[in-house]
Symmetry: C2
Subunit: 124 residues, 2 copies
DNA sequence: TACGACGCTAACTATTCGTAAGTACCAACC
DNA sequence: GGTTGGTACTTACGAATAGTTAGCGTCGTA
């Protein structure tokens, strides 16, 4: 039987893939592609703050991992479509679950931050 | 009604929290704490590859976000226990779900990488 | 004849990260 | 009693990583 991965082993390949999928830009790209196919420039606009360099780099990593499918449409000007593979869809659903949870619980999280900062301010 | 967060807005506080929770070390720490309370040095050993500096930094960010609880035990030598808050448990469960999925599908992901590399090697 | 859209890539710079050392406290050992 | 070791950090510095800017090649529009 095949040995499974272990993200807590620093030499396990799963650690690298986890870094791609949970990285700042990788996670946002996967979450966005769950809404449907996007072109490069669309992702650039919708994932606010990403640079062209990082977006290209991120997409290449996700494509290599088999999470994202890349398709060139030979039109003028050239278009490149990115979409989730079946594998990528499963990963993206889990990431989206986390993001949605964070968005829904933002008020709790912000309250915690305020309480922490207030505690720190006292003990100066 | 309260406005919810949006991780795709670069100025939204949820983006910062998402970065802590999905960051390389933050995600691994949360996942590990789902197994139970850990001391600093235990985490350092179990989260292979993390430096003391990054572990301390990561734990402080997660504590401020209200995801991790920190408790000092005044023994000799001093011990510090880290555990998940109820909020942190919910986040950690979602992260763990992603990690488990990656570990379980590692063979698919590696196969995709091999196929990608082979395709690239041809077109040299 | 500019100019901009498009999907990158390369060079350069700013930021972050990892490594190694230091801190302070005490217990146990030689 | 001097050294070593364990604990939880913090600090300084070099290395790696990320962001910024500029450029490419083609074509439609102004």
């Amino acid at each position: 039987m095949a040995t499974n991965g272990d993200v807590y082993d620093r030499n396990c390949p799963s650690r690298v893939i986890a870094n791609h999928a949970t990285g700042q830009w990788g996670s946002l790209v996967l979450g966005k592609l769950l809404d449907g196919t996007r072109r490069f420039s669309e992702l650039r606009r919708e994932v606010a703050g990403v640079s062209e360099k990082m977006l290209a780099q991120t997409l290449q990593a996700l494509e290599r991992d088999g999470l994202v499918h890349r398709e060139v449409r030979p039109v003028i000007p050239p278009h490149v479509d990115y979409s989730l593979t079946p594998l990528g869809t499963q990963a993206a659903e889990r990431i989206r679950g986390l993001f949605t949870w964070i968005e829904d619980n933002l008020h709790h999280l912000k309250a915690a931050q305020d309480a922490y900062d207030a505690r720190r301010a006292e003990n100066v």
